[in-house]
């Protein structure tokens, strides 16, 4: 190993660092996101809804975009988290929202862990049906025990205490929005860390070639269990956020529509780069409002048409219609990298043979 040319090592190190660094476009995205708190004070309710959709779609991106697990039942964890948060608050078990949020996420993670073993084997079709089935089962369980869940009427009488004992949820949704946005940001940073780690890289490898993944020593099944569990926690936290910001939980949390819309949101924004869910949620919400204002009855027609076009145009990879934006981001990143002192002076080839 002594023959390795130092500049090459330095070049590789800088490439790997660049890969993990926040690009200017990302920083701008988050500045803009937090600026909305002050820019659109009258839209906090809608923005909170978008944040929750974005977080939910992010949870689907973790399994679909990185590990290649397709799911039509992510609402199972969303609904579960929503009810756990509701019950914790209603019965005064854990009244501080942040702690209750974490507890709801952990509860959803446990459920995710237990059901993850069902999606390990089998084709995409099996996975679609199994995840769909799990969500249906949970929904019916919630329906079957109205004394706990409130049944079809939903969980009534939930009161949410101030966040950290300080910030009361107000009528205009200011606290709700700031709280949701901070939760989203924190979870996003963690997700970003995860997908750029060796663990995240192994997920992409498994998605691409499970046979070879095992042949380099990756315990494929355990990695899938791990990411499925993490994604379940994310979905559960999204559900809990909905309960906490609306003081209500209902069977809608488990609905098939929610799973399907979550997938739709993600695909509109693009899979496999974490921002897809967030951008998709934004587009979905505004497209919804805009189309509904033109054709109140038939807005879903247009959503359906857009979906078909996106999937057909982005044949190679779902969501690739956003590629130009990403290319731009890469260019900017490369330009920044090039302004730093170049690590690799000599030509790489023929540097030193072993």
């Amino acid at each position: 190993m002594s023959s390795v040319s130092r500049p090459l090592s330095a070049e590789i190190a800088s490439r790997l660092i660049t890969r993990a660094r926040w690009s200017p476009l990302e920083i701008a995205f988050w500045i803009a996101a937090f600026a909305t708190i002050y820019l659109f004070p009258e839209h906090h309710l809608i923005l909170t809804e978008i944040v929750i959709w974005g977080l939910f779609a992010l949870s689907i991106d973790l399994i679909l975009g990185y590990a290649g697990i397709i799911s039509l039942g992510q609402a199972a964890f969303f609904g579960f988290g929503a009810y756990v948060a509701g019950l914790l608050a209603k019965h005064g078990i854990m009244t501080e929202p942040v702690l209750a949020l974490i507890a709801s996420g952990l509860a959803a993670a446990v459920l995710g862990f237990l059901t993850s073993f069902l999606v390990l084997r089998g084709s995409d079709l099996t996975r679609l049906m199994v995840t769909l089935g799990v969500a249906l089962v949970l929904r019916e369980l919630a329906n079957r025990f109205p004394q706990i869940t409130g049944g079809a009427d939903g969980l009534q009488g939930v009161t949410i205490d101030p966040v950290l004992g300080q910030f009361r949820f107000d009528l205009y949704g200011y606290t709700a929005y700031v709280y949701s946005l901070i939760v989203l940001f924190v979870l996003f940073v963690i997700a970003r860390r995860i997908v750029r780690s060796p663990f995240g890289l192994s997920l992409v490898a498994i998605k691409g070639n499970p046979l070879r993944s095992a042949a380099v020593g990756i315990a494929v099944n355990w990695r899938l269990v791990a990411i499925y569990t993490i994604a379940a926690a994310y979905a559960g936290i999204a559900g809990a956020l909905l309960t906490q910001t609306t003081a209500f939980a209902s069977l809608e949390g488990f609905a098939f529509d929610r799973s399907a819309d979550g997938l739709l949101v993600l695909i509109i924004g693009g899979t496999g780069y974490l921002y897809g869910g967030l951008i998709g949620a934004l587009i979905f919400r505004f497209a919804h409002d805009y189309l509904a204002s033109i054709t109140p009855q038939y807005w879903q027609f247009w959503i359906g048409l857009i979906l078909v076009i996106i999937v057909l145009v982005g044949r190679e990879r779902i969501g690739s219609w956003l590629d130009p934006v990403r290319t731009l981001a890469d260019r900017i990143g490369a330009w920044r990298a090039s302004r730093r002192p170049r690590a690799l002076g000599a030509t790489p080839e023929g540097g030193g043979q072993p």
Binding site: S202, I218, E349, G352
Partner: protein, 250 residues
């Protein structure tokens, strides 16, 4: 010498077809062993049994004297056995840097570390650099694997097995379909493997076999026909009959 890899009466049946019948292999430490045989003789089945992709119908596999017949494929890699594939099995969306970084992280046991960035551990980057140089992948190290030329993909295929730092390396037709220029490169690299690494080579090309191996096993219809030194095997009338003498005239 110590036996590193051994199979005892290994058998694999697919329904009524016997793909591997009573296959017994013994590889000593540092062996350069070739497994040859006509198309459909069951060579790849044997590799798949050794690496755990397939489970044998009966028989045992021993690594360093310990039975590994029912050990998961990924655990066999951790025990020191790595392979290359006859048909490239790569990660299309990863670059060579990422591919090798991944394999090295897994070998070091840091593959589950979700809080680190890839290559943040000391030594990983140097090792990536060393492998990229040795396998002439430096100029394409940042391209997506899917768009690399075939020869480069082939080199990455083998570099990936090297990144596992195996004690036993199974090479399934490493030079298959490689252009001449890169072919020499691959063969030179294989020849320069450390002498304590045990190698099992599956190959069609007799020139490669004769230049590389010190022992040869001949597999025909899933059964071990002959096992011996290069000289013994090349003069064996049964082997000549199977190969119609063509490759053995030299």
């Amino acid at each position: 010498m110590t036996l590193v890899l051994e199979t005892r009466a290994l058998e694999k049946r697919f329904g009524g077809i016997v793909a591997a019948n009573q296959v017994s292999l013994r590889l000593e430490k540092g062996a350069r062993h070739a497994l040859i045989g006509p198309n459909g003789a069951g060579k790849t089945t044997v590799i798949n049994l050794l690496t755990g992709v397939l489970r044998p119908s009966s028989g045992e596999i021993l690594l360093d004297g310990k039975e590994i017949t029912n050990v998961e494929p990924h655990d066999r890699v951790r025990l020191g056995m790595a392979r290359t594939f006859q048909i490239n099995q790569l990660f299309a969306d990863l670059t060579p840097i990422e591919t090798l970084g991944l394999a090295i992280s897994e070998r070091l046991g840091t593959g589950t570390h979700w809080w680190r960035t890839v290559g943040s551990r000391a030594g990983v980057v140097d090792e990536i650099a060393e492998l990229l140089e040795r396998f002439r992948l430096v100029d394409v190290m940042q391209e997506r694997t899917a768009i690399l030329p075939y020869g480069k993909q082939r080199l990455l295929e083998i570099a990936l097995a090297f990144a596992c730092r195996p004690r036993v390396l199974l090479l399934d037709e490493p030079a298959a379909g490689v252009p001449d220029a890169e072919r020499q490169e691959i063969l030179a690299t294989i020849a320069s493997l450390p002498t304590d690494v045990t190698v099992l080579l599956i190959e069609h090309d007799m020139d490669i076999v004769f230049s590389f191996a010190d022992r040869i096993s001949v597999l025909v219809n899933g059964e071990m026909l002959v096992e011996g030194t290069v000289d013994e095997v090349s003069h064996d009338p049964r082997v000549r009959a199977v190969y119609l003498g063509e490759a053995f005239d030299g």
